[in-house]
Structure formats: structure tokens, C-alpha cells
Amino acid sequence: MKLKSFSFSKLCTILIFVFLYAPIFVLIANSFNASKSRTVWTGFTLDWYSKLFNNETILTSLANSLLVALVAAVCATVLGTLAAIGIYNMKPITRRAVMSVTNLPNINPEIVTGVSLMLLFVGLNIEFGFTTLILSHIVFCVPYVILNVMPKLRQMNVSLCEAAMDLGCNQLQVFRKVIIPEITPGIITGFLMAFTYSIDDFVISYFTYGAKAQTLSITIFSMTRRKVSPEVNALSAIIFVVVLVILLIINILDIRKHKKEARR
């Protein structure tokens, strides 16, 4: 089986990885291209990298993206964790109803969620800017937190809470000292997912951003309508390397942990 599957599956996989990485390679190559044209190579340069650090539009929008993602992810994590604990303790029927509504923003096409939020903010007469951007990011981040915390609650041993209460803990202490530590891994994964989805989002931001609060995606979008400045290529190359390194570290740690457990 191994030898046979080698030929076809492996070939497919290699070709698809080439397909997946070709545009990224083009982006990174262009970040070193002396020419402003995207298709002609005129020589190697690091100019775009130094220009990037002087380009205020890009740097401001990058900072905005990080700020929005951080605030939205923190709020979504708090709201979502509390929600998950509450929903977990509901009757099955109510739980199912609440969960189907919870999933709506992410089941719906992004454009529908974006448009619906835009209508809401217009109706409430809120000025489009950071407030609307952060609120709408929390909307699509909360489901990810709930979906990550819920399984941890299900895995938790209910007797733990009872034991804590028998030993004299009050509600708040049970919450703080038993429940929260038990579900922390889920909370962290939820937070990280919320953060990355927020950073990456374009469609929902597109319908809810204001002139003073442009995220990186929005800035790149307005550039693609004219011409993308090569500084953006430099930025994406940097982001690519940073993400690659982070993912490699996470994976290596994960594999080490797994091996250790296997040895035991």
C-alpha cells in the first residue's frame, strides 16, 4: 500500500503545495525586486523594507488591526467564556436554540453578516469608526470562543465542583478556583482563534469601518484598486516569516509534548 500510494497521492500533494505557495513566492520575490513593476525583475534591493518603516499609512493601519484584534479578542473571550458556562448549564432545548443562534454569524455568508451589522449601526446612529469595527469583530469572534470552551466544560468532572462546595467554597470561588483552571486551554485556543480571525478579516470590516479606523486589510484593499505599493509586499514577507516561525515553534513544542507522553 505504501509504495503504491506513493506515486499518486504524493505527486498530487507536491503539485498542490506548489499551487498554494506560488503566489506567496511571487509576493516575497517582489518585495526584493528593485523594479516597481510586478512582472519584471531588475535587481535585488532592500529599499522596500526601509521604505515600509517610513510608510505611515501602512504602519498606522497595521497598528489599528492589532488594536482592534486585541480588544475584540479580549472582549470576545470574556463574553464567550461566561456564555459557554451559562449555556452549558441550560436545559438541552434552550441550549440547542441558543447555540444555533450563536452559530448564525459564521454560518451566514460574511457579506450578509457585514451588511446586517451595517444596517444596525446606521439604525442606532453610531458613527462608523473603532466602535463599530470592534463591536462587529466581537460578533464574529464570540462563536469561536464558545465553540472552544464548550468541549472543555463537557470534559470537566462535575464532581470537582461539588467537592469544592462540600469543602466550603462559595459560588465565586468554585468559578475562580475550579472551573476557570479546568477550561483554560479552551479559553486560550478560543482567544487565539478570535485574534487571528480578527486580524485576517476583510469583508465584515469593509462594511463597518470608518475613515479614521482603517485596518490593514482595508488599506490593502484601497491599494489594490489603484496600485499596490511594494512596501506591502515587504510587510507580507515579514508577516509570513513571523507566522512561519510561530507555527514551527508551536508544532515542535506540540510534537515534543506528544513524544514525552508517548514515552510514559
Binding site: I16, L27, R38, I111, N251
Partner: protein, 311 residues
């Protein structure tokens, strides 16, 4: 835990009402209403009638008179017209569904062998390969699509490559094919991930048992791997189809202005030249209902809950 724990969800329930239910209700309200001008007696006026009464008013009271005294006001009334108007754009809707369907099928065909290959690797390699498959998703989606513009353009990299061997130039950008390619490229990892997560649970011994019992490769795939991966297939299909059918960026960047999808139309009604939120809401509602119907069909195909782990 006890009954009081339910209270922890209270802020969220409030949030849910304001930021999920109300916005969707607004879409429904906008889809079924329109703004009309009524006179002081509450009669609805057409555009011509409005100019008529306004002209008459100015004639009687002079050019400097305050038009507000005429007593015209705007009113929101129930209508089915917006929903009926959506049918005028049925071609665009069908075209979006068609292109998204093609992209979904291509994604399934491409992702299946990849997911299978990764799932049969050693654990350590599995993790690494999966990470590499997901890594492109971390790059900005607009930039990746922009890079495809560079590749597909008339003077782009592919045409230059073809020119070297004396072929082309081919018209690749601004075609439906380019739009499908953009969809496949952007959403392929969404297909690989759920497929991988069901396939990695298939025990290698099951496959070996099938082989021992005389199944050849095709039989193994067709009668063992395929049936066991149905939950992954159906969640992969929804994860690719939903964003593909509603995209407006891919069609704008790779399709030029000519290959409009339903997403472009909705965008135009809200933020574009064709400003008409009522019609836009009607289109969104139709799209939403269509997708929820599709989802309920795929969900009924596989009742098993599939866990999809990101990253």
C-alpha cells in the same frame, strides 16, 4: 455547578439579541419595505406627482416659500417589490452558484488525495504538513488574490513563461476561469482541513484488513476510505461553497468588472453606485435563505457531528 451558573450567560443573551437577532431582523425589514413620499392626507405619491404638487406649490406661494408647508413626508411601507426585483438578477445568482459549485468540486477533487496522503503519514510529519497546508491562509487574503493578478495578467508571469516556449499570450485574467481559480486557491485549505480530520481517524488496520481480504486500491478507496470520510466531505463542501458563492472580492479582482457575482451586486446596493439598501437587503435575504436550505440538506446527509480543529 448549579442553577445560578445559567446567569453567566445573561450578558451574552443580551448581546446575542442586539448583535445577531436584531441585525438579521433588520435585513428582513429592509427587504420587505420601501420608502415612499406621502402627502398631508397620507396618499402615496409617485415621482411625477411629487414634482407636480411641488411646482404647483411654488407657483402659488412664490419661489421663496418653505416647501415644508406642503406637508409631504417620507414613510416606510410594506412591499414585495424588492424580492420580486431580485428575480431580475437571477442570472447573476445562478452564475454565482454555478461558479461556486465548480470551485467546490475542484477543491474536493484536489484536496482528497492531499488529505489522504497527509493522514497516512507519521504523526510528526502529519502535524508539519498540515501546518504547511494552512500557512498560506495566514497571509492576507487580498494580497494572495493580488499575487494571482500578477501571475495571470496579459503581461503577467504565466504569459511571459508561455512566450518563452513560443505560446500565447493567453487571455487569462478577467475570465470566469480566473474567478474559479481564485475561489479554489483561497478556499482549498477549508476543504483539506475537515477531510484530514476525518481521515486521520481512520485506523490503518481497517485499510490493511480490506487489503488482506483482497480489495485492490480502488476498492479500498471506494468502499472503505470514502464512506468513512463522508462527514468530512460534507463539512468541507459547506466550508468552501458558502464563502465562494458570496464572494465579491475575488470576482472583482480576477474577474474584472464583467463577471459580477451576487456578492458584487449586494456590495453595489450598499456601498456602491447603485445605492438601494432595500434591494440589497432583499438579495442578502435570498442568498441567506438559499444557503441555510443547502446547509440543512448537507446536515441531513450526515447526522454525525464532525469536529473540525483549526490549525
Amino acid at each position: 455547578m448549579n442553577k445560578h451558573a445559567k446567569l453567566a450567560a445573561f450578558p451574552y443573551l443580551l448581546w446575542m439579541a442586539v448583535f445577531i437577532i436584531v441585525p438579521l431582523a433588520l435585513i428582513v425589514v429592509f427587504a420587505f419595505t420601501t420608502t415612499v413620499t406621502v402627502d398631508a392626507d397620507g396618499n402615496i405619491l409617485t415621482a411625477e406627482e411629487i414634482t407636480e404638487v411641488q411646482d404647483a406649490f411654488y407657483e402659488e406661494y412664490g419661489e421663496d416659500a418653505d416647501i415644508a408647508e406642503l406637508g409631504l413626508s417620507e414613510k416606510t411601507v410594506f412591499t414585495l417589490q424588492n424580492i420580486l426585483d431580485v428575480s431580475k438578477y437571477m442570472n447573476t445568482l445562478l452564475n454565482s452558484i454555478w461558479l461556486a459549485l465548480i470551485a467546490t468540486v475542484i477543491c474536493l477533487v484536489l484536496a482528497y488525495p492531499v488529505a489522504y496522503f497527509i493522514s497516512r503519514l507519521h504523526f510528526t510529519k502529519q502535524k508539519m504538513m498540515l501546518m504547511l497546508a494552512m500557512l498560506p491562509m495566514w497571509m492576507n487574503f487580498l494580497l494572495r488574490t493580488y499575487a494571482w493578478m500578477t501571475i495571470l495578467e496579459r503581461n503577467g508571469l504565466l504569459n511571459r513563461l508561455f512566450a518563452l516556449v513560443g505560446l500565447g499570450p493567453f487571455e487569462m485574467i478577467n475570465t470566469q476561469g480566473a474567478v474559479v481559480l481564485g475561489m479554489v486557491y483561497n478556499y482549498l485549505p477549508f476543504m483539506i482541513l475537515p477531510l484530514y480530520s476525518v481521515m486521520t481517524k481512520i485506523d490503518s488496520r481497517t485499510i490493511e484488513a480490506a487489503q488482506d481480504l483482497g480489495a485492490n486500491r480502488l476498492t479500498v478507496i471506494g468502499r472503505v476510505v470514502l464512506p468513512l470520510s463522508v462527514p468530512g466531505i460534507s463539512s468541507g463542501i459547506t466550508m468552501v461553497f458558502v464563502p465562494a458563492v458570496s464572494t465579491f472580492i475575488i470576482s472583482r479582482m480576477l474577474g474584472g468588472g464583467t463577471n459580477m457575482l451576487i456578492g458584487d451586486l449586494i456590495d453595489l446596493q450598499f456601498l456602491g453606485n447603485a445605492y438601494n439598501p432595500n434591494l440589497g437587503a432583499a438579495m442578502s435575504l435570498v442568498l441567506m435563505v438559499f444557503i441555510l436550505l443547502c446547509m440543512s440538506i448537507t446536515n441531513s446527509i450526515d447526522n454525525e457531528e464532525t469536529e473540525v480543529s483549526m490549525l
